[in-house]
């Protein structure tokens, strides 16, 4: 579905971009993702798929995890694309003295959606969907590149922005370096074994004694993957890139590629268990420890909101890697749960930030839009209490404060860490979680308790947040709060998917 839609949209953009506006291409991409998610959902047969079914001559595989995560990717992708609806602000019509007039005062003042944006997003989704299903070194590398090229282009898609172009170039260069690591690891594996299919490699590793050459090759691949998920110590590009690109693009870059890459690492690491490679576990544990510490300490000194969120992401990747490294039924369940809840919370934060930016703009505070500095949110609670509270709930959830969903994510990861005997890392995770709460609380303090100092505002438009944004923010925020009343569907789903990984 996604591939066909990509081809159709390439033709449609070339032929009909004058007749079909960019926002409508964006909406069509959302619909495509909904259909695609339904097609994936339609084939979740945990008992029949079992340990996996090969497709396309074994280049890809289908498991309960791939299908479930495909549905999740499509859902989150559609949500992130909904951010584009903000560009409709002021372009609608309204009735004035019985005559329909166009609300043109705000047209062109906001970041518009480009027709190519949803197209590149679909390319990215195609890469993600392929990556989580890949079961061959060739399909793995091609999927990673398809996904990565799409996000490099996304980073630079607003070419008028100098910071976005610089960020995109940095992303491209460092992303290429990580791809080179993956390619080197893949070619070494092929050189040592003559195999490219994971199936063949699994069989080889399960029958031979420890082979350091293959082990080193696999570690090179995982270093490349850790680079791409911005795990410490390979994280340096992330704050610069995320800060440089527009917020709408950042929401995609921060949320989406991580889901597919981390799920791929999850599926790939079954391989390492066959040979009991301790180096794999240590690499993930060290990266987790560093991500937790750097993400927390680095975030403390940030005054730019997007850099703060970038460091927050690094810290959360630390939690996810900790769960991955433990690799028990409990930890994988916690990994999936954490990934789902963190992605949803993150998307909500971006919706709220962008909504703040639009509202500040509509009050004549154009320099404050988009929101760049934490201080620009001073006293916004007085102006937009609901948005302020929603952001506070998201940040509390990220900080792991009960009874919000983020608390349960952290609790599950920590429980599995302690259960597995990783007391030191569990302690570090708790401490970093407490420290990181400081920078989340700082944002909450600025919004809720700092005085609203700007007095010379000129309300240029009474536009509020778009209906779709309000709907998404309200739904996700309520989900974070009320998860505690009915946690069974999400927890059971994560549990079943995990069991399918371990017991088939």
């Amino acid at each position: 579905m996604v591939l066909f839609s990509v081809l159709t949209m390439i033709v449609a953009i070339a032929l009909f971009s004058l007749r079909i506006s960019a926002i409508n291409f964006n909406r069509i991409a959302i619909i495509v993702l909904i259909y695609s998610g339904f097609l994936a959902y339609n084939t979740i047969y945990t008992d029949l798929v079992g340990s996996g079914i090969g497709v396309f001559s074994g280049l890809f595989q289908i498991t309960a995890i791939t299908q479930s995560i495909d549905v999740f990717i499509c859902l989150i992708g559609a949500l992130v694309l909904l951010l584009g609806e903000n560009s409709t602000i002021g372009t609608g019509t309204s009735l004035k003295d019985g005559v329909t007039v166009k609300q043109s005062s705000m047209i062109g003042k906001y970041l518009p959606v480009l027709a190519e944006y949803p197209l590149i997003v679909l390319f990215s989704v195609l890469g993600m969907s392929s990556l989580i299903s890949s079961s061959d070194l060739v399909s793995m590398f091609l999927s990673i590149e398809l996904q990565s090229f799409a996000v490099y282009i996304l980073a630079t898609i607003y070419r008028d922005s100098e910071s976005a172009t610089a960020a995109g170039l940095k992303y491209f260069l460092l992303g290429s370096l990580s791809s080179a690591f993956i390619l080197l690891g893949s070619s070494l594996i092929y050189g040592f074994t003559g195999l490219t299919s994971f199936e063949g490699l699994y069989m080889l590793c399960s029958t031979t004694t420890s082979n350091h050459a293959i082990e080193i090759s696999v570690l090179l691949i995982v270093v490349g993957l850790l680079f791409k998920v911005s795990a410490a110590p390979f994280h340096n590009w992330a704050p610069d890139v995320y800060d440089g690109v527009p917020t709408m693009v950042m929401s995609w870059l921060v949320t989406m590629p991580k889901i597919s890459l981390l799920v791929f690492i999850l599926e790939f690491q079954g391989f390492t268990q066959l040979s009991n490679w301790s180096s794999w576990t240590y690499l993930l544990l060290i990266s987790s420890l560093l991500s937790l510490m750097i993400g927390t300490i680095g975030g403390l000194s940030q005054y730019r909101i997007k850099r703060l969120l970038a460091y927050s992401t690094i810290s959360h990747v630390g939690f996810l890697l900790l769960a991955l490294a433990i690799n028990s039924e409990e930890s994988i369940e916690s990994f999936l749960f954490y990934l789902i809840q963190y992605s949803l919370t993150n998307v909500n934060v971006f919706f709220i930030l962008i909504a703040f930016g639009y509202l500040l703009h509509s009050r004549g505070l154009a320099p404050y839009s988009p929101v760049q500095f934490i201080n620009q949110l001073k006293g916004q609670f007085q102006m937009n209490p609901l948005l302020g509270i929603s952001l506070a709930i998201c940040l509390f959830s990220m900080a792991g404060i009960p009874p919000l969903v983020g608390f349960f994510g952290k609790q599950m990861v920590l429980y599995s860490a302690v259960h597995n005997g990783n007391f030191f890392l569990a302690l570090v995770a708790i401490l970093t979680s407490v420290v990181s709460a400081a920078y989340y609380l700082r944002v909450i303090k600025v919004i809720h308790f700092d005085p609203y100092t700007v007095t010379d505002t000129n309300v240029v438009n009474k536009e509020t947040v778009t209906t779709s944004s309000s709907l998404v923010i309200a739904t996700l925020t309520l989900l974070l709060i009320f998860f505690i009343f009915n946690p069974t569907p999400l927890l059971n789903s994560a549990h079943l998917i995990t069991l399918s990984l371990f017991y088939w």
């Binding site: 996604v2 159709t8 007749r19 909406r27 619909i31 259909y35 090969g54 396309f56 299903s133």
Partner: protein
């Protein structure tokens, strides 16, 4: 690549059915899914426009057509997937089993090959089968159909002789 033997709850009709066979075996509910898919996409577009108006109503003609086209493709893929799941025996398929028996019996009576004639070598037939087998499970990303008359359908041809 070894072919995984899946224990299905219903009898297997064909593990890699030809495109036209899958379409011929569509049930009315599959056509309903196709129609619903075709209608839903423009409806969602109109819903978006209602929520956040983006321009004059006449500017919606092009987007609605494109959404309708992609919706029809999505609806077709859903219908095709549902029909394929019945061929594989993953879903209830009593009607299809009977239809298959009748079709194959007729082919045997007419002296035609069960799965059509092919000019491909056995190797290329296995390549074609390997590419299209179970591809319906990945329809969400890559639509891939079986257009080759290969000989790898995962069922014993002898069973059709027994039914004669």
């Amino acid at each position: 690549m070894p072919i995984k033997d899946v224990e299905t709850p219903y009898p297997v009709i064909d593990k890699d059915p030809h495109f036209f066979r899958v379409v011929r075996y569509f049930r009315p509910s599959d056509y309903a899914a196709l129609a619903a898919g075709t209608a839903a996409a423009p409806a969602i577009m109109l819903g978006f426009e209602k929520l956040n108006p983006s321009g004059p109503a006449k500017a919606m003609r092009g987007p609605l057509r494109l959404a309708g086209f992609l919706g029809a493709v999505g609806g077709f893929l859903i219908a095709y997937q549902r029909s394929s799941l019945r061929f594989w025996g993953w879903e209830e398929n009593t009607a299809e089993v009977e239809k298959d028996k009748a079709e194959m019996a007729q082919r045997i009576a007419e002296g035609k090959p069960l799965y059509g004639e092919s000019q491909l070598s056995p190797y290329l037939q296995s390549v074609a089968a390997g590419n299209s087998r179970n591809a319906q499970l990945k329809f969400n990303a890559i639509p891939w159909f079986n257009f080759a008359n290969h000989d790898q359908h995962g069922v014993e041809a002898a069973k059709y002789n027994e039914t004669q």
